[in-house]
């Protein structure tokens, strides 16, 4: 290997060797990023996970079957019955188009992978891309060493893994790559001042806009950075070139995406960029005039230009404020408003607040999701300040903003993760830099060099071998990862010295302290790696469509969801409508191919409220609501038998709230006993008579004779009852999904003559016809 040549001091070969090594390491990081996300496929199977991915999967199927124009104009009549949904105009097409392109590309190469396989593996592939983009970005900020470290950290940061395991086919999977890559191109443009990169930057921004609603983060972060640069007196022509074309081209390109459209110029999330666009022009003009005038004349000019410029700015600000104030929600959409005011959503929009990923995170979730990086971030910030460049300023701003946003919404932890990785990468790399330099200055330099290089090369080889073997043993990957990360930390060790040796830095630490510090750092990183592997293998690989549980008598697999959807698709008519709470809408359309009333898109609050009202109403009223929507089947998810906590009974209060928000006769206090939500014998009669309770607990007492609910850990309040308007048609093996059919209206209407046994039913049925009403 070239290692033996290196000590000869041939700088050229050393550099060549360094870049080859860096390339190899990047390749391995890519493999690592891809393979660490395959735990879900290995432990479970190659399935699409959760809820939203099922929709994306269905859309991708449509795209690959019907082509891009039909996809663009797709009016979906199988969801949101009877309103339908214009898919082409309400979906971020980036992910779908990416997977579709991948699929077509593979098929043109005669690799006949199914759409599902492509979808399952899109996320891991893009996380490899994302780690490479991280490398590029960090390299622009702090050099190759930091870049490699950051890329390795990102490849296995749990927060990102949680959204990009194989099968988690969601927008974020590709969006994080687009996000980092856009930032990279921005920094690259900033560093080079090349219009070429500026163009690429806007195209990359376009891809981001296509992929995820989180693009507003970019279009707010970059103007903030520009403003910060201007305020701190770091304005340069490069800044102008990096920013101005991005705003114009980016806005135009964003407006091309149907789901964004005119929002790109009409909503206030984008106004910051226009404001800064004006400011940067004023500043550019000022700098220009300053450049061509003598300092004396400039002082005179300054007074004039600045006052005029300020006046113009004030006018603009006034206009913008007027525009914003005139729009009903003050121009901010609900999700963005809840960013600025965390209490906004829970106060006004229960449908946003009801989603768990819109809740603020707890402290343990930080430790869970970014682990030791949380402690390295401050060090990274400090490293960024010495010396401070435009790029490192950007990194600092990025981390500060993303920490704030992640504190508001769990979901945005995902935006924090790359920032944390970049800064931790910088911190780690700098720390190793300092320590190993200290070690090196106190050792005979030549022998040490060859020693390290040789060892590195050999460890490299070992890693390669290991990867090729792809040992599925639980221990080996851990070990392998540890080794690789060790090597990674060492890698920056050996390159910066070539640069710094000449400069003869004075900051030399004691030899022993350096050694100990290096060991401690390696331990820290090893701990991180172990945590990441654990998170990838245990915490985040469950597909949530198939559940497992370990108990004394072995592993239990709960495949009830697919059982229920398969039942629906085989036993019901193609045009039958299935009502369920909106969480299961995407899955029902994708897996059972049946029309649903509401789904996870949640674009029409009234419609969801109608379903919520039906679920919280007594049987008869619910029957009428469902009947008016042509519903044939009602699907409820019930976890009381096996202890599956996220079932419909636990979500029920949200149904009441959302329903009550539109139909005021549903009142939340009616369902609570002294402010407590309970389903035992102390529950309120309204609760015990509502449809959700009845459908969940119908015949439940027949299972164990006591009707003990394992989720709520109590015996239910009303055990023996009959359904009058619904009939049970299917209950899955573990009772997790129960499907009911609406009974048709009675063929005859009974008279009133007393027949003691059926007295009650006669009164209800004879009244039914007269009181039928439309809930709208």
């Amino acid at each position: 290997m070239a290692a033996s040549d290196a000590p000869n001091g041939d700088v050229l070969i050393r550099n060549a060797f360094g870049s080859v090594l860096a390339f190899l390491i990047l390749l391995l990081i890519g493999v690592l990023a891809f393979s660490i996300r395959l735990f879900s496929v290995i432990k479970y199977e190659s399935v699409i996970h959760e809820f939203d991915p099922y929709f994306n999967y269905r859309v991708t199927q449509f795209l690959t079957k019907n082509g891009i124009y039909d996809f663009w104009n797709w009016f979906d009549d199988r969801t949101w019955y009877p309103l339908g949904r214009v898919i082409g105009g309400t979906v971020y097409p980036g992910l779908t188009l990416t997977a579709g392109t991948l699929y077509w590309f593979l098929h043109s190469l005669n690799i006949p992978l199914s759409v599902e396989t492509v979808c399952v593996f899109t996320a891991p592939i893009f996380s490899a891309f994302a780690s490479w983009a991280t490398y590029l970005l960090t390299k622009e900020i702090k050099g190759v060493g930091a870049g490699l470290t950051a890329a390795a950290l990102l490849a296995m940061v749990p927060s990102y893994i949680s959204r990009s395991v194989a099968g988690s086919y969601d927008n974020e999977a590709v969006a994080i790559f687009a996000l980092i890559f856009t930032f990279y191109l921005y920094i690259k443009t900033l560093n080079t001042g090349s219009l070429f990169y500026a163009t690429l930057n806007s195209l990359s921004y376009f891809y981001m806009v296509c992929s995820w609603g989180g693009y507003t983060f970019i279009i707010n972060l970059i103007p903030m950075h520009v403003l910060l640069c201007i305020v701190t007196g770091r304005y340069s022509s490069r800044l102008y070139i990096a920013y101005a074309p991005l705003v114009i081209l980016g806005t135009l390109l964003a407006a091309l995406v149907p789901v964004v459209g005119f929002n790109a110029v009409m909503t206030s999330e984008h106004f910051a960029s226009f404001l800064v666009f004006i400011i940067i022009h004023v500043v550019a003009l000022v700098y220009y005039i300053k450049g061509i005038l003598s300092p004396k004349m400039f002082k005179v000019a300054l007074a004039l230009v600045v006052s005029i410029g300020l006046a113009v700015c004030c006018a603009m600000v006034a206009v913008i404020i007027a525009l914003v104030a005139s729009s009903p929600t003050k121009g901010w959409s609900g999700r963005s408003l809840s960013l600025l005011d965390p209490t906004y959503a829970s106060k006004y929009i229960p449908i946003i607040a009801s989603v768990s990923e819109h809740q603020p995170p707890t402290w343990p979730s930080y430790f869970m999701d970014i682990n030791v990086l949380a402690f390295l971030i401050p060090a990274g910030i400090i490293a960024c300040f010495s010396p401070l460049s435009d790029a490192s300023l950007f990194a600092v701003l990025y981390i500060v903003l993303s920490v704030y946003f992640s504190g508001v919404m769990v979901r945005l932890m995902l935006v924090l993760a790359p920032a944390a990785c970049i800064l931790s990468g910088i911190a780690l790399s700098q720390a190793f830099d300092v320590f190993t330099r200290s070690i090196k200055f106190q050792l005979p330099s030549l022998s040490d060099h060859s020693h390290i290089d040789a060892r590195d090369a050999s460890s490299e080889k070992v890693v390669l071998d290991d990867t090729i073997k792809t040992d599925k043993n639980e221990d080996t990957p851990k070990e392998r990862m540890t080794k690789r990360s060790k090597k990674k930390e060492k890698e920056p060790v050996e390159k910066p010295p070539t640069k710094f040796q000449i400069k003869k830095r004075l900051s030399v630490l004691p030899f022993e302290a350096s050694i100990i510090a290096v060991i401690l750092l390696v331990l820290l990183v090893a701990f991180y790696v172990v945590h990441c592997v654990w998170a990838a293998a245990e915490a985040y690989s469950a597909p949530s469509i198939v559940l497992t549980s370990h108990s004394n008598d072995g592993l239990h697999v709960f495949d009830d969801f697919r059982e229920a959807y398969a039942w629906l698709s085989h036993n019901t008519d193609v045009d039958d409508k299935v009502a369920s709470w909106w969480d299961y809408g995407y899955q029902t359309t994708a897996m059972a191919n049946r029309t649903v009333i509401v789904d996870n898109n949640t674009w029409n609050n009234t419609h969801i409220a109608t379903v919520g009202t039906a679920m919280s109403s007594p049987e008869k009223a619910a029957w009428e609501i469902f009947h008016s929507l042509d519903v044939k089947y009602v699907l409820v998810v019930f976890g009381g038998l096996v202890g599956y906590p996220s079932d419909d009974i636990n979500k029920f209060l949200w149904m009441v709230r959302i329903g009550g928000g539109v139909f005021p006769h549903i009142k939340e206090p009616d369902y609570l006993r002294d402010g407590q939500y309970r389903i035992d014998s102390m529950a309120t009669p309204t609760m015990l008579n509502c449809l959700m309770y009845k459908l969940s607990y119908y015949r439940f007492v027949e299972t164990d004779g006591k009707a003990f609910d394992r989720v709520r850990r109590t015996e239910i309040g009303k055990k023996y009852f009959k359904l009058t308007h619904f009939e049970e048609v299917f209950t899955t093996h573990h009772w997790m999904v129960r499907i009911y059919k609406l009974k048709p209206p009675k063929n005859r209407i009974r008279g009133k003559n007393k027949k003691s046994k059926s007295k009650t039913s006669s009164t209800t049925t004879s009244k039914r016809k007269g009181t039928r009403r439309n809930p709208f």
Partner: protein
């Protein structure tokens, strides 16, 4: 007897294949359950009338242990006549639930009760929405509307002429003579939309035991009391419930009638005409509609599209026929309406007709997208209810269906193109200058 049964059964075998179908809704095989065979002769006019109209009557004693309505899951009969008011338990496999299932699967039923109707008959009636007077010994008494008769000085024989005003149910020919009725009255739940009072009691009638003195106010009085009612179930099965079995008897058919206080004396009571017309309705010889050939397409096209676009012009047509007992005749009406419905009707149009059963209209799809339905809900007194719905999605414009080249936008087009031209000129100048 048993041999005869077998022969009868063999005779029925070919008929089994043609059970009640929407194409020929008339009933052909009728089971008649009697208290005793005397009724067969005492009501022979009614039965012969049915036979002459092509019905196959199978007379059985109600407690005959061999009777059954269905065999191997197939119903053996298309209709059932219960002339057994006193039966407490049917023989064979029949009970109240079996009879109601018979109705719920689309078959017709005639029930006649009388003064001492059994609980079983009452229960069947109640299940169909008819509540007989609970006092088992009560009869309908009318001291001013009774039939003047030489033999019976009793005011329980009523001459009633308070018919339902429906040509569909009672035929187009007016029933001139009053109908003789002797039996029990019943009440209907006013909110029950399926049951109709065909023959009401007069305002002075009440229901009580004629033999005992009236101690408390009678529970059923006046016009709210019904003597004969019909039910049309949601599946269009038809039921006739009469409080009087003797209404169908030869004696009442032939009897002359004079209503008390009325100077005219009719030679013949209206019973025969009334019962015959009513039985025609019950056995679907009248008032049975069917709708076929629901078609819709864009104006100028023939094929039915899978999806419409907003603001499309479309044509809708449907053919409606009425069963005449032998053939399907075109149904003529001017009040058939179609809705274009999504949670509420967006378009409501009365269909034009060519008087040959063909109904059509044309309208514009509203400017709303969603999953719509063409709905025809036709419910008229006496007719079977027509409820057609056909689902059709309506999509918004495609991306290339919007207006283009708007004149107001020409300056913008000009500006954009001038910028492109400017770019070329500038490129040339810039390069040349260098």
């Amino acid at each position: 007897m048993s041999k005869k049964l077998i022969v009868l059964f063999l005779g029925l075998v070919p008929l089994l294949c043609t059970c009640f179908s929407p194409d020929t809704p008339s009933d052909r095989r009728v089971l008649v359950l009697l208290d005793d065979f005397a009724i067969k002769s005492s009501h022979s006019i009614f039965f012969n009338n049915l036979k002459s109209r092509g019905f196959d009557l199978d007379f059985k004693l109600a407690d005959d242990p061999t009777i059954s309505l269905q065999r191997y899951g197939q119903y053996l009969y298309d209709a059932l006549i219960l002339f057994s008011p006193t039966i407490e338990r049917f023989g064979g496999s029949i009970d109240a639930a079996a009879i109601l299932d018979f109705v719920d699967s689309g078959h017709d039923l005639i029930v006649a009760a009388n003064g001492n109707a059994s609980d079983l008959i009452r229960e069947i009636a109640t299940e169909c929405g008819v509540d007989f007077d609970e006092d088992s010994s009560a009869l309908v008494i009318d001291h001013s509307g009774y039939a003047v008769s030489a033999t019976e000085g009793d005011h329980t024989l009523i001459a009633s002429d308070d018919f339902i005003k429906s040509d569909v149910i009672l035929g187009s020919e007016k029933i001139k003579a009053p109908v003789l009725f002797q039996g029990i009255g019943h009440s209907l739940n006013p909110s029950n939309s399926l049951v109709l009072k065909v023959l009401s009691a007069s305002p002075s009638a009440y229901s009580a035991n004629p033999k005992s003195k009236l101690t408390s106010p009678p529970s059923l009085t006046g016009t709210s009391m019904s003597l004969v009612s019909v039910v049309q179930a949601r599946n269009n099965a038809r039921i006739l419930i009469s409080g009087s079995l003797s209404m169908f008897s030869n004696r009442f058919f032939r009897s002359d009638v004079q209503k008390a206080g009325s100077p005219t004396k009719h030679d013949k009571s209206g019973n025969e005409q009334f019962v015959t017309e009513l039985s025609k309705w019950v056995f679907h010889e009248r008032g049975h509609l069917k709708a076929v050939n629901v078609k819709h397409h864009k104006v100028g096209e023939v094929d039915e599209p899978a999806i419409y676009r907003i603001n499309d012009d479309l044509e809708y047509s449907v053919e409606i026929y009425e069963w005449s007992g032998k053939t399907w005749e075109p149904y003529v009406a001017n009040d058939v309406q179609v809705q274009f419905y999504m949670m509420s009707p967006y378009v409501l149009k009365t269909l034009s007709t060519d008087n040959k059963g063909y109904y059509f209209t044309a309208f514009k799809v509203p400017d709303v997208y969603g999953v719509f339905q063409f709905k025809v809900e036709y419910e008229r007194l006496g007719y079977t209810s027509l409820s057609l719905s056909k689902q059709i999605p309506v999509r918004p414009f495609r991306h290339n269906e919007y207006e283009r080249f708007i004149p107001a936008a020409y300056p913008y087009y000009g500006a954009a193109f001038s910028m492109m031209a400017g770019f070329f000129i500038f490129t040339a100048v810039h390069l040349y200058h260098k």
